[in-house]
């Protein structure tokens, strides 16, 4: 085992003061040990006080534009493949997550581009007609004035399915000038601490506005301490864990959960003509390959309309070849036993359906690092076992997709649609009514747009509280002025 890597970010603490637990990662080959900081309840309270103060001094004293510039500078450091932080992430993230190094490198760059200054400005504009609200009272159309205050302390509970995930909520917190303490996931404990350290290098006064900690799931003391301190809690993870967490969040604290989601693709017959079909398959495969389908935005089923030059069944075979081709470029990570069993079970289940008379074709043998099953009937959208496992479901008309996905309303998130404009909008309308919150292009599912509305919510607006000076207060103040007239 090589040198031990320490995760986390603890302003105001000596590393020797806190406990450290070692997480060992073996999925990608040689074991990698990462030490994560474990704080007791009193230490969490102390960290919370430090971070609140750090946010007051480093963030609340600054204009939003200045904060945007600082984040932009940090992101540009990470976009540079030769920067020491980027080099560390490029080598460590694949080593701990098992994801292919090329995929992490390319995916990380695409992702980081979302947080440069023009994109951050868009992020702000998306949620605030007048981002000046974050800096001071602004006149409102109804009369009076309003100002948006971010929380003093925003708690984050991150998931580890996709590397870099903490950046969304960390940047959201920074833009609304919130102090942040995040709990990293055991599956990916490194990114958040690196970002905090980098931010402190770019602007030392921001170092104390963030804290990054860890505790073992279900260990109540540290978690309870953080939940008690936080004004707002953002949490990512499985629905059971989130429900559990929700029960422990004080009623006065805003809780913003991002749970399990299912996303899918829809390919119209016009995207399957003899010129475009191959590109449709290529882009569909790109979405399936990205982070081995572990994202909330990853497609778990492709609905393919009949009537194009390529039939849905032929599309399934072309998609399988594209997945093979991508395997040579971005190999799938090694599966653990549970995943391998789930996958074998899924293949077996599909084959059994075929033997029982359903129109099912499992493409290719079981040895490939992808699994494609074609089904001739459009059944309800069922969750995939992931790791590049996809069902290609034939539909006779695009509109049929709506009935397939509607039963999953609470879980729906992204739909990638390849269809002509006159069909895109009606389908988007129907899918939106069924619960879909994001419609994107094939091949773009894993690349979230700057300022997107995660699960249909407002990233920044959901974090703030608005203070209003009503017109009456302003008017009443006029009467109390000291001027002589």
């Amino acid at each position: 085992m090589g040198e031990v890597i320490r995760a986390g970010w603890l302003p105001g603490f000596d590393e020797a003061e806190v406990g450290w637990e070692t997480l060992t990662f073996t999925r990608a080959g040689p074991p990698v040990a990462v030490e994560v900081p474990v704080l007791d309840a009193a230490q969490i309270a102390r960290l919370a006080a430090t971070v609140r103060k750090g946010a007051r001094e480093g963030l609340k004293s600054r204009g939003t534009a200045e904060i945007v510039d600082i984040v932009d500078a940090a992101i540009h450091r990470l976009l540079d493949r030769d920067d020491p932080h980027r080099r560390a992430l490029d080598s460590l993230l694949p080593a701990i997550t098992g994801y292919d190094a090329e995929m992490v490198r390319v995916g990380l760059t695409d992702y980081l581009k979302t947080f440069r200054k023009p994109q951050l400005t868009r992020f702000l504009a998306e949620d605030f007609a007048n981002p000046g609200l974050l800096d001071g009272f602004q006149p409102t159309p109804k009369g009076g004035y309003a100002r948006a205050h971010g929380p003093e302390l925003l708690a984050h509970v991150w998931a580890g399915n996709v590397p870099g995930l903490p950046l969304w909520s960390l940047v959201s917190g920074l833009l609304v000038k919130a102090g942040s303490i995040g709990k990293v996931a055991s599956a990916e404990p490194l990114f958040a601490g690196h970002f905090a350290r980098l931010l402190a290098e770019v602007e030392p006064t921001l170092g104390a506005a963030l804290g990054v900690v860890w505790w073992r799931g279900g260990e109540g003391e540290s978690e309870a301490a953080l939940l008690a301190e936080a004004d707002v809690v953002m949490a990512y993870g499985g629905n059971e864990a989130l429900a559990d967490l929700a029960r422990r969040v004080p009623i006065t604290t805003r809780f913003l959960p991002h749970g399990h989601k299912i996303s899918f693709q829809v390919i119209a017959r016009e995207a399957l003509d003899t010129a475009k079909a191959w590109n449709s398959a290529h882009e569909a495969a790109r979405d399936i390959v990205a982070f081995d389908q572990q994202g909330c935005y990853s497609p778990q089923c492709v609905f393919v309309e009949a009537g194009g030059a390529l039939s849905p069944r032929e599309f399934a075979r072309a998609l399988a070849h594209e997945l093979s081709a991508f395997e040579s470029r971005f190999p799938r990570r090694p599966l653990d036993v549970g995943e391998a069993n789930a996958l074998a079970g899924w293949r077996h289940g599909q084959e059994m359906r075929g033997l029982a008379g359903a129109e099912v074709e499992v493409v290719g043998g079981g040895e490939a690092a992808w699994s494609v099953a074609f089904t001739g009937t459009a059944d309800a959208l069922d969750p995939s076992v992931l790791n590049r496992t996809i069902r290609v479901a034939a539909v006779t008309d695009l509109a049929d997709v709506v009935a397939c996905v509607a039963p999953r309303r609470a879980y729906l998130q992204s739909a990638a649609i390849a269809a002509a404009p006159e069909r895109l909008f009606p389908l988007a309308e129907a899918l939106g009514s069924a619960g879909v919150t994001r419609i994107t292009a094939l091949g773009r599912m894993s690349v979230l747009e700057a300022g997107w509305h995660h699960d249909g919510r407002f990233n920044l607006l959901d974090l703030v509280t608005i203070t209003e000076i009503e017109a009456a207060a302003e008017l009443a103040a006029e009467d109390l002025a000291d001027y002589l007239a």
Binding site: E102, H282, H321, E322, A325, R329
Partner: protein
Amino acid sequence: MDLSTKNVLVTGASRGIGAAIATAFAAEGAAVAINYLSNEDAAAATVARCREAGGRAQAYAADVTDGDAVRTLAETVLADFGHVDVLVNNAFRAYRFDAERRALFWELEWEDYQAQFEGAVKGAHGLIRALLPSMRARAAGGIVNVASDLVARPSIPYHDYTTGKSALVGFSRNLAAELGPFGIRVNCVAPGLVYPTEASAQTKETLKEQLIAQTPLRRLARPEDVAGPVLFLSCDWSGFMTGQTLYVDGGLVMG
């Protein structure tokens, strides 16, 4: 394919395509001489991989465009191995592949062409001259020269590099005509963009996507993809082929 009786010399074999070719030969049981220019650690790693794969392997430092160094290399390899059945000329003069900042034709000097011509042809020429007596004495031998699919389809006009590789193809065809009567076959393998290698490490994703979009097999070559055709052209399976160029680019070039 059983190559356990074959002795193979691969130039530029410490990394990238050359290392993949050397390892593939070793996996079929061949004894492989691994020539490298300067990266001793990488050469040692390739030797280790070859041995792990089941072949014999030894590393030899030499600049193949230096006449004296080439003669010494040939003598040393012959002394160690007895004879060489297969020579793979894979080394090339360092070149910066950068589609966005490449030199335009009118920015290139004659010396740039000269350097690439020497990198491609002089290295092959020198080694073949040095090894030919031993091959002729055995009335058998296989020579595989690594060119580029850019010679048939300059997707990006790297003038000097591609001109050098085109010369290597012409050189190989003449040599095939000359050496056929002695039972020595000369062929070329012409890969498309191979990723990842040190030369292609900086290639942008957009360029990769453009090439993939036009490639029937829908991906780029990996170093291992080049090894199969090289092995094929080195063994009896291609015993009646000489003077040919096999394109290894997923069907981007057909010919």
